[in-house]
């Protein structure tokens, strides 16, 4: 085995072999859980695959789920590059969706080309501000962003719950169930595949990928961001404003999460209820880790998670296996991505560089 890998350049191993092997091993670990639960993994995975890709409209639905993962994954990845662990994507998704929904149901009579950007801008601003709180606290007081963003998640749910369930605020007076009024027809993102729910948000997300890559890899701000993420002390010595960069990085991360929220509303749900997000923001952490914070790699990672998300419900319907199985897949995939030594050992890939240097380069995660 080792001879095959000795010729491969190191980026092939860390960029392709390790992630793909991680995903396969993730499915293998989950298969063990299926067997332990007394079901047949081949049937479960067949149903998962059918539900994700081959059933009627399944692929379009998978892409529908991929859209929020793309925006959220980009957001979390951007945070990682600046050394920030944004666990608050879920809350920023909520707050962004809330602001965008408010704009989209309040404005009437304007053409889509005006309303949709306005709603998205409102969501980005709200997400930026909400995540910016955590960035500001980290920069000013050293409060760890993991704790503050987790708390901000709970606060976001309660804010949304309050506004959406209280009559006279954002609750639709005509609706019995708690939700906002439906957005203006001109604010709804057009469907791009007939007879499906696949909306133009996919195109926006596909534009966001190169934009975020450009921002991180080709701009001064991106350079500062990576410098702070790599070594905050050195960045400060080089004259970079670490505090300002942290707030901006967290804010942009939140703006992307907010965009995910509003796009989900304008494209799929058309109104906001207390149960809008459904855990996309938490999954996004796994998306960003699997992509190793590379914006381009977010594409396949988000597609995988979109497929898992979409296929899981069909699998649960068809077999006795709970849709929570995909959490086992996700968890194990992150284990193998984050600890590539396990895969290197399994595939007998020898290290080419000193161990310390390798592990630091393998996973782009914040150095607390």
């Amino acid at each position: 085995m080792s001879r095959i890998w000795s010729r491969a350049p190191s980026w092939v191993i860390s960029g392709l072999v390790v992630p793909i092997a991680s995903v396969l091993l993730g499915f293998l670990v989950a298969a063990i859980a299926i067997v332990a639960a007394g079901s047949d993994p081949s049937q479960a995975y067949l149903a998962l695959f059918q539900g994700a890709f081959t059933n009627n409209n399944a692929f379009a639905e998978t892409l529908v789920s991929t859209v929020p993962y793309l925006f959220l994954g980009l957001g979390v990845a951007l945070g990682f590059r600046a050394g920030l662990f944004n666990i608050g994507a879920e809350g920023q998704f909520y707050i962004g969706a809330l602001a965008g929904t408010f704009v989209a149901y309040s404005i009437h009579g304007l053409p889509p080309i005006v309303v949709i950007p306005l709603a998205i801008l409102a969501a980005m601003a709200a997400g930026f501000f909400y995540a910016g709180i955590a960035g500001f606290l980290k920069a000013q007081t050293g409060a760890h962003e993991v704790i503050t963003t987790i708390m901000l998640n709970y606060i976001a749910f309660l804010i949304v719950n309050y506004l959406v369930t209280t009559p006279g605020l954002m609750k639709d007076p005509l609706s019995r169930t708690p939700r906002t009024p439906y957005v203006d027809v001109n604010a709804i993102l057009p469907i791009i595949v007939p007879h499906s729910r696949l909306h133009a948000g996919l195109l926006l997300a596909l534009v966001a990928v190169p934009l975020v890559w450009f921002l991180i890899d080709r701009t001064t701000l991106g350079f500062r961001l990576r410098a702070v993420g790599f070594n905050a002390g050195a960045a400060r010595a080089a004259g970079i404003s670490v505090a300002g960069t942290m707030v901006l990085a967290m804010g942009i991360s939140g703006a992307l999460a907010g965009t995910a929220g509003v796009v989900q509303i304008l494209g799929v749900l058309h109104a906001m209820s207390p149960a809008t997000a459904a855990g996309y923001g938490f999954d996004a952490i796994a998306v960003a880790l699997l992509a190793r914070s590379n914006p381009w790699a977010i594409l396949p990672a988000a597609l995988l998670f979109g497929g898992l998300h979409n296929g899981a419900s069909f699998m649960q319907l068809q077999t006795q296996v709970s849709s929570d199985l995909i959490s086992i897949v996700q968890g194990s995939v992150i284990v193998f991505v984050a600890a590539p030594e396990i895969i290197r050992w399994l595939l007998r890939i020898r290290r080419k560089v000193a161990p310390v240097a390798i592990t630091q380069r393998e996973v782009t995660t914040p150095n607390a």
């Binding site: 804010i159 929570d324 199985l325 968890g331 600890a339 592990t359």
Partner: protein, 316 residues
Amino acid sequence: MHDLALMVVNIRASDIAVFGSQTLVTATPLTLAALGGVMAERSGVVNIALEGIMLTGAFVGFLVAFVTHNLWLGLIAAVLAGMLIASIHAILAISFFVDQIVSGTVVNILAVGITGVFYRTFLETQSVAGPGTLPVWHVPVLGDLPVIGQILFQNAFVTYAMLALVVIVYLVIFHTTWGLRTRACGEHPQAAETAGINVYFVRYLNVIFSGGLAGLGGAYFSLQQIGNFLPNITGGRGFIGLAAMIFGRWNPFGAFGASLLFTASDQVASRAIAFGVQIQPQFLGMLPYLLTIVVVAGAVGRAVAPAADGKPYRKS
């Protein structure tokens, strides 16, 4: 304000007893999670896996109690399951130098998956009566004291255990050799290693103990509080426990006090609404989270973590 004044006027001794008792009982899982956090973080390993460990403890504890019809076996199983899943965090964070937040997140995600899958297989369709809940032990004499007796001496096992563990963890951390070693590993692992301490061993054991404590905290939900398991039964209480640990400045008594403060604010919230105080329940619900942010941001005195907390240690 008028409503609030009316509420205060109407308080009786029995209300205080119920209030205190509810505050203490609901603080049980928070405190146990926070104690777990203290053990792990004092040795230098951040443990955001507490939430997933509690969930696992709650599930395995209930499953074993359900199958064996023995709540005590369930309790032991919950502790062992907590230790087992915590060791995943330990292996990844200590031996593979995985970022501790990442490996904690892994455990949280895996716990949702494992409990969800096996819940559906083994428990969801069961209609047989469950194993019940842990009995309330009324301590003779002390339990008959007015107010205090009802709060402190009429509880079930996990709450008594929690009270004892606050003291035990405090003594272990601050008054034993093991505690000294633990703190050395959390403050300056290189120096600890030089002094002949096996940093990896100390960190491993502390993370595994931490898992046992959080696992017991999980058993509170399924075996003491409701006598059943439901998916995501812990509902983020592990994270609040972590916040209580920070609020309590990595000190067992501080963590206990912070947990009580969080649950007392919950109790005030639910009573205020029952008394018709004009305040939205959602705002009161935000209190613990806002408090946590304020505390972490250092507004109420600065919370200083152990110096090497969260930093992987590599032997050089």
